[in-house]
Structures are given as C-alpha cells and as structure tokens.
C-alpha cells in the first residue's frame, strides 16, 4: 500500500478535527493518508457521545486559553497538550470494526519499539507500557472510509488535566487524580525527551511497518483544505456541534 504522510504542525482544535474529516471525505482521490499533528493552543476534545458541559469546566478552559471540541469519534475526554496525535484514513478493512482498531494501533507500538519502549495493546483502544496508558485511540466509519485517530503522550500534567475535566463525583476527585497518576505514563516519564518533529518521523516508520506501506510525503490539494475550512467554521467551531449532547 502507498500511504501519503503529512507531517503537520500544532493547530487549533477545530481545524484538526475538520481536517481529519475532510481527508476522510476525500479518501478516494487522496488514497490512504496518515497525518501527524499537535494542538496549539492546548485543547480538550470530548468523545462523540459525551456532554460538553458535563465533561469540561468551560470557565477554567477559557481562563487557561484551552480550546474545546467534540470529536467525530467515540471515547472519552482527552487533554491535548504535550502529545503527538495521528490520524489515518484508509479503505475499511474487512471484518469487525472493533477488530480493526489494532491494525492501526500497531503503528504506535512499532514506533515506540523504535524508541526502545516495549508497549502493548490493551482492550480495544488503549496502548500501555508496563500496564500504564500512553496512547488512546478511536475510530469511525463514514463516507465509505475509515478514520482512526489517536494520541501519544509526550508528557502529562494530570493536575492541570483534572482542573479542566469534571468528574462524576467531585468528592472523589483527589482519589481519581491519584489513580490516574498511577495508571498513565508518557515518553517523558519513561526518560525519553524528543522533539515533536523527530517523533513524527519515528512514528511514521512505525506505521510503515505495521501497514506494510510505502510512505510518500505530499501536501493536500486546495480542495481538501477548503473543505476543512468549511468544516472548521460550520461544524467543529460551532456551538451546534460542540454542545449537541
């Protein structure tokens, strides 16, 4: 398989989600496409089925200048700050949707291996190192294609994360923070401090191997970028979408 790869920069949340969807809409003409990106300003994304008001302390987010956005994919709220994010758009492989998550997740596992980190898949959508989560992944099928995106934590600030996220029981918050600190890790915590751009290249190699693909770098056509601009304004930047549940 030939896999277009885009080494992108750190972008606004609405743009990132809009571009993921625009690429998915144009799978047929773009071919399989992998994009690495980051988030600036930092952002909290919520899963497709979550409630914005119940998951995020919006006042705090606004104070900290943190973007908020609803994803096209399910799963939980994620604080995107010190991380590398990937998105990949492919023709849907045969078989169960839930079984296909790991086809892509192996790309991250391989990339981590190249960094000397022994990681493994956990459940459907997590990647763990020594039992601690370092990557979360989520997928959707739409427009005849498959989109999977996921995170790789470069560092993590659990206290800041929980200042932004609401929890079901406020009195349990301290316990939850302690619990998450014990259950989440990052490259930094594993002693790996690496530049964002270099990490993108290494992870690209991981996906190449996992998907048995030839990577080629090619920018996205204007048509896809203008579709993304439209989605950025009309969907991912809109109250209608972000607060729809």
């Amino acid at each position: 398989m030939e896999l277009r790869v885009i080494f992108d920069k750190k972008n606004k949340a609405a743009w990132n989600m809009a571009l993921d969807e625009a690429i998915l809409m144009h799978l047929e003409e773009l071919g399989p496409t992998l994009r690495f990106y980051g988030w600036f300003p930092p952002a909290v994304s919520i899963g497709y089925f979550q409630s914005m008001e119940e998951e995020i302390d919006l006042k705090k987010a606004s104070e900290l200048g943190v973007d908020v956005v609803r994803r096209l994919t399910g799963g939980g709220a994620v604080y995107h700050k010190y991380e590398l994010t990937y998105s990949i758009v492919l023709p849907p492989p045969p078989g169960k949707i839930l079984d296909s998550y790991r086809i892509v997740e192996k790309g991250i596992v391989n990339g981590l291996k190249a960094l000397g980190v022994d990681a493994e898949l956990s459940g459907i959508n997590d990647i763990v190192v020594g039992g601690k989560k370092i990557s979360g992944n989520a997928q959707t099928r739409r427009y005849g294609g498959m989109l999977q995106h996921g995170t790789l934590l470069m560092d993590v600030d659990v206290d800041e994360m929980f200042s932004l996220l609401k929890v079901p029981q406020e009195k349990m918050k301290d316990k939850m923070i302690k619990n998450v600190k014990e259950r989440v890790t990052s490259l930094h915590n594993l002693g790996i401090d690496i530049e964002f751009e270099e990490l993108q290249k290494i992870m690209g190699g991981g996906f190449k191997k996992a998907l048995n693909a030839e990577l080629y770098e090619e920018n996205l056509p204007d048509k896809v970028l203008s579709q993304a601009r439209k989605l950025e304004v009309e969907k991912y930047g809109s109250r209608k979408w972000n607060f729809k549940r």
């Binding site: 409630s51 096209l72 939980g76 459940g123 459907i124 989520a138 997928q139 099928r141």
Partner: protein, 96 residues
C-alpha cells in the same frame, strides 16, 4: 421549578469499564425524553439518535426489545443492551 403533573425525572450513571449516563423524563411509566451520554464506543455513531428516538413513548417494560432491535447490527464497547436496560431501569427507580 414546578414539576408538571405526571412527569418525573431520573438519572443513572453506570460504569462498566466505560461510563454510561442516562437522563430521562417519564410521563407515568412511559419515557418522555431520554439522553444517553458517555465515553463508550458505538458503530455506527448515529445509532445513538435512533436509540433515543425509538425509546420515546415506550414503557420501561418495553425497552429491552427496542434496544436489542436498534443495536442488532451495531458494534459497541462499554455499552450493551444489558447495560442500557440496567441504566434506564436505574433512572426509572431513582426518578423524583
């Protein structure tokens, strides 16, 4: 707020690996409105709207059949007909 006569509201939060929250209002024993939120996965995602829509007007006793029918060809993690039935029943029991 003065409660409309015959209307009650209930909320349930169920954790089975993932979190499912149900906010429901009932008119007598029938579901008037229902919102399902959480960090689960459901493919295709739009099934959630179909679920909420199909459950409106149903009595608590009828929900299993509706849920099983809507989710028949869906794939899900952290959400299942059993947990949904459990959650709606919990919201029903906890209604005010």
């Amino acid at each position: 707020m003065v409660a409309e006569s015959g209307i009650s509201r209930g909320r349930a939060i169920i954790k089975r690996g993932k979190l499912i929250k149900i906010d429901a209002s009932f008119r007598e024993d029938r579901i008037e409105e229902l919102k399902i939120t959480g960090d689960f996965f459901l493919h295709p995602e739009e099934k959630i709207d179909e679920l909420e829509k199909s459950l409106r007007g149903k009595s608590v006793k009828e929900i299993r059949e509706v849920i099983e029918r809507v989710l028949e060809n869906a794939e899900y993690v952290g959400l299942s007909p059993d947990t949904l039935v459990e959650a709606v029943n919990q919201a029903w029991k906890r209604r005010n």
